[in-house]
């Protein structure tokens, strides 16, 4: 069963400052709309390239992306900086809208683009578990039910009533990830967030994600620059470059292709 279907997805960004320049563009856009014409800036813009300076004010962070994801697949997304990985995740998790195209999703999505979103430094670990869980879309009773498990997974029980601003960055991440690991969504989106925990905890998180896909048929989208964790966790890979889907297929082939491109380009 297809759980995510992406069709002709593009995302355009305006680069540079917001000021009179962007105001003029807005007027022009408005003027065109009054005349019933298409947005004039949709036709301009270059593919995103961090290194080359372009004369256009508009870039396409994603350019005409098409793909489908089946239920239970664990997809690793690889690509250099500026390839559009995060933009794609942001659109899938409804943080920003696409410029053109559509995304269709079946099931409940939870995305982990940052750990500990909404954590308040002055609140205790326990209070933050509730807050963060609620931000991620859990009801209070759901958190009540899972509280012990979350505390256990995070392994910071001793500091549970200490304000999180006193936590070390590792403890902070452990607590935050513990909440995220218990969201139990149908689709889990994870950006590079595991970097701060120790190896032990990283393995624990990967294991948890693996379990949730293997045992419960959850779909996972995972972005990382760590090819080992990608290979360990994912079954299938997407290789993004300059906002387009360059290749998709079994994870080992994709990682290999990505690494070959890196070597041949001698760049990021």
């Amino acid at each position: 069963m297809t759980v995510i279907k992406v069709e002709n997805l593009s995302k355009q960004y305006r680069i540079g400052d917001i000021g009179t320049g962007s105001l003029m563009d807005d007027f022009k856009r408005f003027q065109y709309r009054l005349m019933g014409k298409e947005d004039p800036f949709l036709k301009v813009g270059k593919p995103n390239n961090l290194q080359k300076k372009s004369d256009s004010k508009y870039v396409w962070a994603l350019n005409d992306l098409n793909f489908q994801i089946e239920e239970g697949e664990v997809i690793g997304i690889v690509g250099g900086n500026g390839a559009g990985k995060s933009t794609l995740l942001k659109i899938l998790s409804r943080i920003t809208g696409p410029t053109t195209g559509s995304v269709k999703i079946k099931g409940r999505i939870a995305s982990l683009l940052e750990v500990g979103t909404g954590f308040h430094g002055d609140l205790s670990g326990r209070e933050n578990i509730y807050l963060n869980g609620a931000i991620m879309g859990l009801r209070k009773w759901q958190i009540d039910r899972k509280l012990d498990e979350i505390i256990d997974f995070g392994g910071v029980e001793q500091y549970l009533d200490t304000p999180v601003k006193r936590y070390s960055s590792g403890m902070y991440v452990r607590l935050a990830f513990a909440v995220a690991a218990h969201l139990e969504p149908d689709i889990l989106i994870v950006d590079e967030v595991l970097a701060v925990g120790d190896i032990d905890f990283q393995q624990k998180c990967l294991g948890k994600m693996h379990d949730s896909s293997a045992e419960k048929g959850r779909t996972v989208l995972f972005v990382s620059h760590n090819m080992d964790s990608i290979k360990q966790l994912c079954t299938k890979g997407f290789f993004l470059a300059n906002g387009t889907l360059k290749a998709s297929g079994p994870i080992n082939e994709i990682v290999q292709e990505y690494e070959t491109t890196l070597i041949s380009h001698k760049t990021l």
């Binding site: 696409p98 269709k104 999703i105 002055d122 879309g137 859990l138």
Partner: protein
């Protein structure tokens, strides 16, 4: 979900398109996140007074300080009339109700800019944030008004203060809804417009001061000349504030037409606010 077959292929739970519908409130989603609303109110409340020794007592102290300042400046130095109401009660009531409006408006108008960091990382109905701030302000108001009530009852029982109180008291909840609602609606409008161009923010700080003087907070409406009254009545806050004072002190002009006028303001400003908010929330992360 698990056993759906090919025939269910087109039952998408969520379709993401470039533009939102005009008024895509998605109430069901909003209700599903109601726990977040309460937790966020709690966070505001606890976060504000962590690491202070007096804690929530500051809720009382700050309006008391302002009340004494106003008593000194407007009461003693400027000699403004309070229409026979004990000075402390008069200014304290004015400050408390004004703080409620000011807080509701200011907090809602910062909905996007202040929460950009969270909005940029996780999705939830954005409207939760301004709603939570209005609820926080309402709680703060209830705490502050309880101090007012204590002094008020003390004056009645021990100082032989005899206000003419009547059924106006019943309208207090309506007055609060009007004041909070207008603050919320205007706040939504400002928050949506200022995501891209911040110019309006500069105007708002100054504008709020102006609105405060155009509202009978520090003066009694009855002392205003009738020519002036006509102009002041354009301000939708006049009627609910006056009705609030009428309820406790039996002073001021109380009129139904004014309240209806304010009600229209509330409905229209919330409606426009929701429209703009709905439009802005889509891509505000790219431009904030």
């Amino acid at each position: 979900m698990k056993n759906s077959n090919l025939s269910h292929q087109n039952n998408w739970d969520l379709v993401i398109l470039p533009k939102n519908k005009w008024l895509d409130l998605n109430l069901r989603e909003l209700i599903r996140y109601r726990d977040l609303l309460w937790l966020w109110v709690r966070r505001d409340y606890i976060g504000a007074y962590k690491q202070t020794i007096l804690g929530p007592i500051w809720h009382f102290l700050s309006p008391v300080f302002s009340t004494f300042t106003y008593m000194l400046i407007f009461g003693k130095i400027a000699n403004l009339s309070t229409d026979g109401v004990p000075m402390f009660l008069f200014y304290n009531a004015g400050i408390t109700i004004w703080n409620f409006f000011n807080g509701s408006f200011t907090a809602s108008s910062g909905a996007f800019i202040n929460n950009a960091a969270i909005f940029g990382k996780v999705f939830f109905p954005r409207l939760i944030m301004p709603l939570a701030s209005v609820v926080s302000m309402l709680i703060k108001f209830c705490i502050q008004i309880s101090l007012f009530l204590l002094v008020y009852l003390y004056m009645i029982f021990f100082k032989e203060y005899r206000p003419e109180v009547g059924w106006g008291l019943l309208l207090i909840p309506l007055n609060l809804i009007l004041i909070g609602g207008i603050g919320f609606g205007l706040g939504l409008i400002v928050s949506s417009i200022t995501t891209k161009y911040r110019d309006l923010n500069q105007l708002v700080g100054f504008g709020m001061q102006l609105v405060m003087y155009a509202t009978p907070v520090i003066y009694a409406f009855s002392t205003v000349s009738s020519g002036m009254k006509k102009w002041l009545q354009v301000n939708p806050l006049v009627a609910p504030v006056e009705s609030f004072k009428y309820a406790f002190f039996g002073i001021g002009t109380f009129n139904i037409a004014g309240l209806v006028y304010s009600f229209a303001w509330m409905v229209i400003s919330i409606f426009i606010g929701l429209l703009l908010f709905n439009k802005a929330e889509r891509n505000f992360m790219d431009i904030v």
